[in-house]
């Protein structure tokens, strides 16, 4: 499954647009990561725990988007956009959306 954020793929032709597909995932941090982050607030530096958490979340969101695209019979997702927002105390929502198409 091709996933990209450009619109016109060189050398390929879009035969059918199958509409908007979305994938989202809401993940919460846990006590361990929180304590590490608290310490980092004193010392500074990259919060590796959180970076990992959000990265996993983003991958899960993309997987779900691809799952939706497969369900409607597409073979590529174009013009993908990402968005992160905090919707719950201590949890972030990772959201990916794009257009499912059939490429040739």
């Amino acid at each position: 499954m091709l996933v990209t954020n450009i619109e016109i793929i060189p050398g390929k032709r879009i035969t059918e647009h199958l509409g908007l597909v979305q994938g989202s995932s809401v993940r919460a941090k846990h006590l361990g990561r929180d304590i590490m982050a608290g310490l980092k607030n004193i010392f500074g530096g990259e919060l590796k725990g959180y970076t990992e958490l959000l990265q996993e979340s983003r991958e899960e969101a993309m997987e779900r988007m691809i799952e939706q695209a497969e369900a409607v019979g597409a073979n590529a997702v174009l013009n993908v956009r990402f968005s992160t927002s905090s919707v719950a105390a201590g949890a972030a929502e990772l959201f990916a959306y794009g257009t499912a198409v059939v490429l040739e």
Binding site: T15, H17, L18, V21, Q22, L31, I35, R64, Q68, A71
Partner: protein, 287 residues
């Protein structure tokens, strides 16, 4: 170029699991863990607190006792009497020499008596007024001295601090919706069991020392009958599970079974209170 809008199946971005199932799993798991951790931590604190030397405890106590209003200069006779009785009981309980018992009389209507750090006992006028004979006074003193002997005050303080720290650490990460309150209450219920065990232990030691001092434990239940009377008007009695002391009923039953076990002596009369006891209690000028 064809544009279409096919139907997308449900359940990809949402979960089909019933929310209640998740709720019960989560709460069950967390409550269970919190209980286990609290039990382990408080046991640890309990065991370790005993190693704090009594001299250090007396140092700590000087800060605590400054809070309670001192009434030494106002009613010397009652304090002399109480301290004398306390010394006799302490001798029977075989207290180590560094544990000095000091009884403070507090001129207040409150029906209470307690022991704190450093061997300090506080007896309130409200309670002393209701006791009918010396054996009852001795039971109260013996119970509180037993607390000192078993180092209950410092152990309670240690447990309280560790428990507070643990809950505080967890609470700071949680959001709102009273999750921290629920956790604190659950942990609190566990700690109450410790308190009840301590009270039973103190009761037992007190009864033993009373038996050694007077040869019988007649009149020891007078205290609990007073307490039951005082709280009996309260229709909404909390079950034992939720309170810091065992039920008065249970404590009275315990005393009666002790009596039947150890009642070899025929002469079981209670000692009357010394003359002037009543006047000593009201001699303190009211502020």
């Amino acid at each position: 170029m064809k544009y279409s809008n096919p139907e997308i199946p449900e359940g990809i971005n949402t979960s089909t699991q019933h929310p209640l199932k998740e709720f019960f799993l989560l709460t069950g798991g967390i409550l269970g863990t919190v209980l286990a951790v609290v039990v382990v931590l408080t046991l640890l604190a309990d065991q370790l607190a005993v190693y704090i030397p009594f001299e250090l405890e007396m140092e700590l106590a000087t800060r605590v006792t400054d809070e309670v209003p001192a009434a030494e200069s106002e009613s010397p006779q009652i304090e002399i009497y109480l301290n004398g009785l306390a010394d006799k009981i302490a001798a029977e309980q075989a207290l180590p020499p560094e544990m000095q018992i000091t009884v403070h009389y507090v001129d207040d209507d409150l029906v209470n008596a307690f022991a704190t750090l450093g061997g300090h006992l506080f007896m309130f006028r409200g309670l002393l007024e209701t006791l009918p004979h010396e054996n009852a006074v001795a039971m109260v003193l013996a119970h509180e001295i037993a607390h000192i002997k078993h180092r209950h005050p410092i152990r309670s303080m240690g447990r309280g601090i560790i428990f507070g720290l643990a809950i505080g650490m967890v609470s700071s990460t949680l959001g709102n919706a009273m999750t921290d309150q629920v956790l604190a209450n659950t942990g609190g219920l566990t700690v109450l069991k410790f308190n009840r065990d301590q009270e039973s232990e103190a009761d037992q030691t007190a009864l033993n020392s009373l038996y050694q001092l007077y040869g019988h434990v007649e009149g020891a239940d007078a205290l609990f009958e007073v307490l039951e009377r005082v709280s009996g008007d309260d229709q909404l009695q909390m079950p034992e599970f939720f309170s810091t002391h065992p039920l008065s009923e249970n404590r009275i039953n315990n005393i009666h079974s002790f009596q039947t076990e150890y009642s070899a002596v025929e002469n079981r009369t209670t000692m009357p209170l010394p003359e002037g006891y009543a006047t000593w209690l009201v001699s303190a000028p009211k502020k």
